[in-house]
Symmetry: C2
Subunit: 221 residues, 2 copies
């Protein structure tokens, strides 16, 4: 009985890993929609967000019944509760990728991101995608080093966001108000994807060590 | 034993209600900081966000030990799991109120919101605060009608956000790029506070009825 309980827990974890890969794909394709002004990619991300929601509902239901079926021991309980929260954060990352795609679609066939900010967004997207994939690896291996590597990349994201603001709020922003509003929101979406990855990484450290890292924040920042 | 378990659950719920009131206060004072250009209010919201985080940590720990101490029956389990999630959403609302206050502080002594958008933001803040208080009432009474009333107000928020965009992206926006960026982000923060209240209201309906409402979304939208 315990044996099969553990197996079910492991299955839930590998589904979480699969979900993180699915989200990394959504982030990558949303970015392609944005920077290569590709409407088909935008539509794909938007319409397939439902599948991510479905993955969430499925993992949720199974974690919940494991909780209900059998009183889990302490470590398992911690893992199940963390799972119920991580899956919510992951779904949210999917929503944010869809938000990026929606802005790309709204401006199509014009690019939403001005030429001189494409490099900045390409790097933001790269960091976000790497963080999401890092979360998947850390989940798979239950590896603290992977989880900590994810957390470290969050600073890069903050730097990239600051450069955006410097560009937009400088005296020589030539792209007008609409582009500035798009850039501000798009930057916020990528930043939030990174925040969620960071929060999941923090939970993972907690699961593995039983200790919350110094900063006790959850979906915070 | 069961009796005291139930009592502990009820205590956790009334702490959640207290937390929602605390957040409504943060939203109100952050709005005062923003619209009355009041730096003291901004500092208060920013520095006291820690207390909200502390409330979260405390409720979290108690809900977790109730889960661990005694195998809860189905309805209690649902309530405990929902609590662990609602408290995360509430903490996040507190963060968002602090984000509003930070923009107010950053622009001080200038107002971050141009005169012609103050009415719009005042209404946004009113809706957000009412939704947060409505969540508290619904939690206290475990009342579906209260929860549904919260959900209905979310549409108002969407309308207010749309008016902001119309103003900013019209041909005659005279306030420049910086104000547009501030308005876009501030509008997003209020909208997200409303989204979280909406998500909590939806969870409450689930707790009371055992059924998720048609839209199965969580922190979604």
């Amino acid at each position: 009985m315990r044996e099969s309980y553990r197996e079910q827990l492991d299955e839930i974890l590998s589904d979480l890993v699969a979900m993180s890969e699915r989200i990394a794909t959504a982030v990558r394709r949303a970015t392609r929609a944005l920077l290569q002004v590709d409407r088909t990619e935008a539509e794909w991300v938007i319409s397939s967000d439902e599948q991510i929601d479905q993955m969430r509902a499925d993992i949720d239901a199974r974690a919940f019944s494991l909780l209900a079926l059998q009183a889990p021991v302490a470590g398992e309980l911690r893992l199940l509760v963390a799972t119920l929260r991580m899956v919510t954060e992951m779904e949210r990352m999917g929503d944010l990728a869809a938000h990026v795609a929606k802005i790309a679609r709204m401006r199509y066939p014009e690019p939403a991101v001005p030429e001189d900010l494409r490099g900045n967004f390409a790097r933001m997207a790269e960091v976000a995608e790497a963080m999401v994939l890092g979360v998947g690896r850390a989940l798979q291996e239950k590896d603290i080093d992977d989880a900590e590597a994810v957390q470290q990349r969050d600073d890069e994201m903050d730097d990239l966001r600051r450069s955006q603001f410097r560009l937009m709020l400088g005296d020589d922003w030539p792209h007008g108000v609409e582009a500035a509003v798009d850039v501000a929101l798009l930057g916020r979406y990528y930043e939030r994807i990174a925040d969620h990855a960071d929060a999941i990484a923090r939970r993972l450290v907690y699961i593995v060590t039983g200790q919350l890292p110094e900063e006790d924040a959850v979906t915070s920042s």
